[in-house]
Every structure is written in C-alpha cells, then in structure tokens.
C-alpha cells in the first residue's frame, strides 16, 4: 500500500484542516462533519459544516470526545440517506462504531466519506472541563508524545484509551491519515478506496510514497498497547468474575442508564430495561424482598448491565464514552471491553473492520462452538 506524504506546517491538526478546507473550496465534498469549538470555548460539538468559515474553530483532533461521532452521524442519516456529499472526520473507534451502526441499519453510508486519523486518545470530559485552556495545551503534549513513539501511553487520557489496540485505520475507512512514524514532521494520507485516491488527487496529493515509516510507527505502539491491554485486563478480572464480585464492583451504580444513552451501539430509542416490561406491581417487589429479607431499589442493576452487555458486546469498540459519562466513576468501559474482547474473539470478529462481514449473531454456522454443546 502507498500513501501521500505531507509535510506538517504549524501543527498536525492545522495541516489536516487546511487540506479539508481546500476540499470544500473545490467542492470535492459538500459538507464536512467535524468537531467545532462551542461558543463558550469549553467543549467541541459535531457540526455539519458547509460554510468554510466554520472550519476556523474546527479541530481535526480535538482533546475530548463529547459525543461519540457515530451517534452524531447516525442522527443525520438514521431516517434516510443524505443527498449531500459528507466527509466525516472521526477517531478510529468512532469510524468502527459507524460501520457497526451501518450493519444495524442505523446509518446510511451512501454519500458519506469516512476519514480517520491515528488516535492518541482523548481526555476525560470532567478533567478537561476543570480547565479547558490547560486541556488544549496538555493535549498537544499528548499528541507529541504519541507521534514521538513514546512507548508509555499518556495517563491523562481515558483509561480505555491507554489500552486501545485499534488506534489506527479500520479497513472500512475511505481515507486514513497516519500521524505516527515521523515524529510529527510528516503525516501520511492513506487511501483505502479508489474514490479516496481520485478525490484527494484533485488536491495535488499523489499516492506514490512509501508508508513503511508509518507502518513501523504503528507496529511499535501496537506492541506496547497489546501488552498493556493484557496486563490491565488481567488485573481487572478478579474484580468482576463471579456474581458477588460483579455486585461489588457495581455497588455504587445508581441505575441512571447514562452509560447506555451515550453508547453509540445502544441505538434503541427505548431501552428494554426502561420499558413497561420491567415494571411490576408492588407485590412482586415485596415478594422478592421477602425471599432475601430485602431488595435494593431500583432493582435488577446487574441484570441491566449484563443485558446491555449481551446486546452490544459484539460490537463494542471500546471508545470509553460510557465510563466518561458515569456519575459514579465505575470502570464501565474497561469492564465491557474485557467482555467484548472475549466474545468478539469467539467469533474472530473485529467490530467495524469490514462492512461486508456480517454481525456474528446474524450468521448461523452449524459447525461451531462445540465446546459448549452437551456431550
């Protein structure tokens, strides 16, 4: 595979933004879907930017993930395909969630051009909000450490970002921008589709350059991340294996369901666990209380988490939106990622990697999983 090596001017983010701006100028896209700083300067919001001037306050690699990009894109095309050519610039985990949502009929990918960039992670929202200006500066350092190939992931990002093993391109993306490998002096525009090549060729990019520096950069970081992921998950296991441990770990959970509402994969308008099905007359609760002497209210906390897990784990992209939003600081993303990895492995399935690969639960293989059959 080849790419286009681009010299970085000013900063990686600005370099990318300039190229996208030119793309709008030349009408190669009608709209860019990109995070733009909000008027108060304390956050970034996804904006469908048709007017080039909006890109002045945009960021191609913002310090935070306020709304998971797949959720934003889903709100645009859930009801039908767009007639505008939209280029969506998102983090790899957001792209993967987009692909999963497309398989779940929640996003129409027609006329959508997906662009991703190597991702150093994002700062937790609450940390960022303590001092947004400081946050911008500290995130610049995070990016620099990342592109320098620092083996130790920056601890200021979301915990699941520090163990992310999918921080590079999914095969399903249209164009990927590799920022690793050249310490931030050069970045690589790597097209995955002929459409990507054609479009960006109009901007003067020629995809003839060797990208092995980038590939090596990715491999180096990946090696370290995989090790760290293993380590962290091994440490986490004793906290969640067995119902007692699970109850303990989630004991602070207040059943607010915010983890579900921010999750890109949880697309149900009304979650089963909020529906009438889980609402019973008082006698039911009383009977349950009598069987053990008491019942916590709201009830069925673990059932909610296990239920959510069984519904979305195969598509979980480990973005960490859930953990970031949890008001009780429960390690939701780390726990769900642990289960997601194991269940995805069972089916050799990597969520968001390929549009063509159907969701495992939609595929019936007669010759499979013999180890769980009754002999």
């Amino acid at each position: 595979m080849k790419g286009a090596r681009v010299a970085v001017k000013d900063s990686i983010e600005k370099t990318v933004l300039n190229i996208l701006s030119k793309a709008i100028d030349k009408k190669l896209f009608d709209v860019i879907l990109i995070p733009i700083m909000v008027p108060a300067g304390d956050s970034y919001a996804w904006v469908l930017a048709q007017d080039k001037s909006l890109l002045d306050s945009a960021s191609s690699l913002p310090p935070i993930m306020s709304v998971q990009g797949a959720k934003a894109l889903s709100s645009v095309t859930r009801m039908g395909k767009t007639n505008k050519k939209i280029a969506a610039l998102m983090r790899p985990c957001e792209i993967r969630a987009v692909i999963e949502l497309s398989k779940l009929s929640q996003i129409e990918l027609d006329n959508i051009f997906l662009i991703s960039m190597d991702c150093p992670g994002v700062l937790p929202l609450k940390d960022w909000l303590k001092d947004p200006t400081k946050g911008i500066n500290s995130f610049r350092k995070v990016i620099q450490r990342f592109v320098d190939g620092d083996p130790e992931p920056d601890q200021s990002v979301r915990p699941v970002c520090t163990i992310c093993h999918r921080f590079y391109d999914s095969s399903a993306v249209d164009l990927h921008i590799g920022i690793l490998g050249k310490k931030g002096e050069y970045i690589f525009f790597i097209p995955h589709t002929t459409q990507a090549e054609t479009i960006f060729a109009e901007l003067g990019l020629s995809f003839k350059d060797d990208i092995s520096h980038w590939q090596n950069g990715v491999d180096e970081v990946l090696k370290q991340r995989k090790k760290k992921r293993s380590l962290v998950q091994e440490e986490l296991k004793p906290e969640v294996i067995g119902l007692d441990k699970l109850l303990d770990t989630f004991s602070n959970c207040i059943n607010c369901h915010i983890c579900q509402s921010v999750c890109p994969i949880c697309y149900c308008r009304q979650c089963y666990f909020d529906s009438d099905k889980v609402k019973q007359p008082p006698d039911d609760y009383l009977m349950r209380a009598e069987s053990k002497g008491n019942i916590s209210l709201p009830p069925d906390k673990i059932l909610f988490h296990l239920g959510r897990m069984s519904h979305m784990a195969l598509s979980c992209v480990g973005c960490g939106a859930c953990e970031d939003a949890c008001p009780m600081s429960i390690k939701v993303a780390q726990i769900f990622s642990l289960i997601a990895d194991r269940s995805q492995e069972l089916f050799n399935y990597i969520p968001g990697e390929s549009l063509e690969e159907p969701l495992p639960l939609r595929v019936f293989e007669e010759d499979e999983l013999h180890e769980v059959e009754t002999p």
């Binding site: 930017a49 007017d51 609450k126 303990d248 921010v262």
Partner: protein, 369 residues
C-alpha cells in the same frame, strides 16, 4: 404543639429502633430506607422486610443515589401498596412523590412517611471514592449548630423547604445539640401516634420549628440569592443559554434521574425529534452549518416547560451531568419563578392540583393584549 416520642439513642440508632419496632410488631410489612449494601460501604435504597437487615440500615445517611420519590413511584406505579410500608425519605423526595401521585404515577395508600428536618445531601461524586464517610463528623457538627453544611449539593445549601410538609413522622435534626444522644420523633398524624403505641420512649410535646430552624432558613435564603446571582438566569437570553448548554452532550441523564420526568419514552428521544435528511439539508442551505445531534438547547427548554411547575430542587440532575452543567440551579430558579406565579409549592399538599391542570378565567390579565 405536637406529640414527640423521644428515644435515648443517637438520632440514626433511634430511627433504626423505630423501624425495627414497626417491622417486628408487624405494624408495617416493609421498610423503605437507605442501607449499606456491601463491605465497601456502598449505600442504596432498599425495601426491607426482615428486621435483621435493619442493622445495615443508614436512614439518615447524607446521600441521595436516586430521588426516592421516583423509586416510590416505581413501587406503586402498577398498583397501590396492599400493606403498610414505612418509607424514610427527604422532604424533597416526599414532595416529588406527591407531585408524581398527582400525575397518576404512584399512590399514597398504605405509606407511612418518615422524614427529617433535612440538613442536605452530599453530591454523588463524594461517594465514589468513599470520601463521604470522612465528612460525617463535620456533617453532624453542622446539624447540631444549625449551620449550612459545606460541600453539600448547591441546591441543598439554598433549600428553603427542609421541613417536610406531609410526613407522618419527622425526626428533628437541625439545631438539635443532643442529636448524638437523643432521637426526637415528631408524631404529626393520628396514624403515627397509633403506630408507636407500646414503643419504649419518652412522650412529650414541643414545636418542630425552633429558632435554630428559623435561623437556618434565613441562611439558606441568603445562599440561594448568591447561587442564583452566579448563574443570573434572567440575563441569559438565547446566546447565554447556548453558552451555558454548549457543552451539553445530549445524554438526557438529567431527565432520567429527575423524579418529575416520568415519561417512559421522552418526546425528545422519540421519532418526533429525529430529522429527515431534508431537514438537515434545508438547515445547511439556510445557515451554512448545523450542530448534530440537534436540539441541545431545545431539550433543556422543553424539559423546563414540562418540569418547572413541579421542580423540587433536589439536585439529582446536576449530580449526574457528565458536563458539569449547573442544571439544578437553573431549574430551581425557573421553577420557583413559575411556581410563584401560581402561589404553588410543589408537593406540599396532594389535594392542591397542578396549576397547569386548572383553568382560571380571571388570571394573568397583565399578559393579555
């Protein structure tokens, strides 16, 4: 003058004893209160039928994991309680439940409400790492002195409705210097007096509203003025709202934990607010750009419209907001303004209809043409 039952134990232990008495004497079938649910001291609301379990009950613990009004509504949504249940709840939680009952989202039948003169509750984040336990001595001291407890929810610091309006029993806490030795239970109803018959304790008479309570009331009023001045809702306007709610991530967590927001599927989560691509396209044509997902400020305004008349200022919304937006302050301010228009105190009396359900011909002439 009201009847008081005085138990010679600290307030929390005394209350536990009362609950134990009610359960063991089968005066109630179950008790609803806060309980320590594991060794790591996580605290949750519990429906308790076995008096043995009461040893872990923490009825006065300064935490509100969910607004109890919402939980009592969940309990009695499908049907009213068939047997008596004692529920230990904060004044705002009781008010919220009554507002829900008015909306047919629960029933008061067979409940015995036990509340307190409420010193307030700590923000949820203090309980995530156990810090809340370290705050308890300071909490007790401020209760004794009748001071505003520092670090409690901002809306608690500004709360004027800390005396329960319709509880059967009220535990006197605020300004009671002997709260670590004595538990004073005010028996506000005949039902309450009958329930404690035969219980060990001293019966006396007294006034719930002491001068310490009046003093705290003025302190809280001052605090409220300060709090509202910080936000200055009146001067926000649309641009101010956009600034304040700009960082809102649209998780709708505020609505989910709000006791008054009882809708099973919020309109803003429904098909009604999902846009066709043509909507986006016409917005792009008009304005050159559009924030997605849309309706960030609209959700807040919508919720304000629906909730403000019954907002009890419990503060759950601010506590769960991932973007640290002072939602409860804004809702309390707007809520009070709306409620004042109708001389309405939400949850004070179940007989008082929600203003928006009543029509008065002679009203608001000042806004007519």
């Amino acid at each position: 003058m009201a009847n008081i039952l005085k138990i010679s134990k600290n307030a929390e232990e005394g209350l536990r004893e009362l609950l134990r008495f009610l359960l063991e004497k089968k005066r109630v079938k179950a008790v609803f209160t806060l309980r320590k649910i594991n060794e790591n001291s996580a605290v949750s609301y519990s429906l308790i039928t076995d008096s043995e379990m009461l040893k872990d009950a923490l009825p006065l613990f300064p935490l509100m994991p969910q607004n109890a009004g919402k939980l009592l509504s969940r309990l009695t949504l499908k049907e009213h309680l068939l047997e008596p249940t004692a529920a230990v709840v904060r004044p705002c939680e009781l008010r919220a439940f009554i507002e829900l009952v008015k909306r047919k989202q629960g029933s008061l039948d067979n409940f015995i409400f036990i509340s307190t003169t409420c010193p307030g509750t700590y923000p949820l984040e203090l309980s995530t790492n156990g810090d809340i336990w370290k705050k308890l001595p300071e909490y007790e001291m401020c209760v004794k002195e009748g001071d505003i407890v520092p670090d409690i929810r901002p809306v608690c610091q500004a709360c004027e409705h800390f005396i329960p309006y319709s509880a059967d029993m009220t535990i006197a806490l605020i300004g009671k210097k002997d709260v670590d030795k004595s538990c004073e239970i005010f028996l506000n109803t005949e039902k309450a007096e009958k329930l404690i018959e035969g219980m060990d304790g001293e019966l006396s008479e007294g006034e719930l509203e002491t001068k310490e309570i009046k003093k705290l009331h003025s302190k809280r009023q001052e605090k409220k003025k300060e709090l509202f001045k910080e936000i200055n809702v009146e001067s926000l306007g649309l641009s101010g709202l956009i600034e304040t709610f700009g960082r809102c991530i649209g998780c709708h967590g505020c609505g989910r934990v709000c006791p008054i927001c009882y809708c099973v599927l919020c309109d803003f989560d429904s098909r009604d607010y999902e846009c066709e691509p043509s909507t986006y396209e016409s917005e792009l044509k008009k304005r050159g750009g559009m924030r997605v997902p849309p309706n960030t400020v609209l959700y807040q305004l919508g919720r304000l419209t629906h909730v403000s008349v019954s907002c009890v200022g419990c503060g759950m919304c601010t506590d769960v907001c991932p973007a640290d937006i002072p939602i409860s302050t804004i809702f309390l301010k707007v809520g009070e303004e709306v409620q004042n228009l109708f001389n309405y105190i939400p949850g004070k009396s179940v007989e008082e209809a929600i203003p928006l359900t009543k029509y008065e011909k002679e009203e608001f002439a000042e806004v007519e043409d």
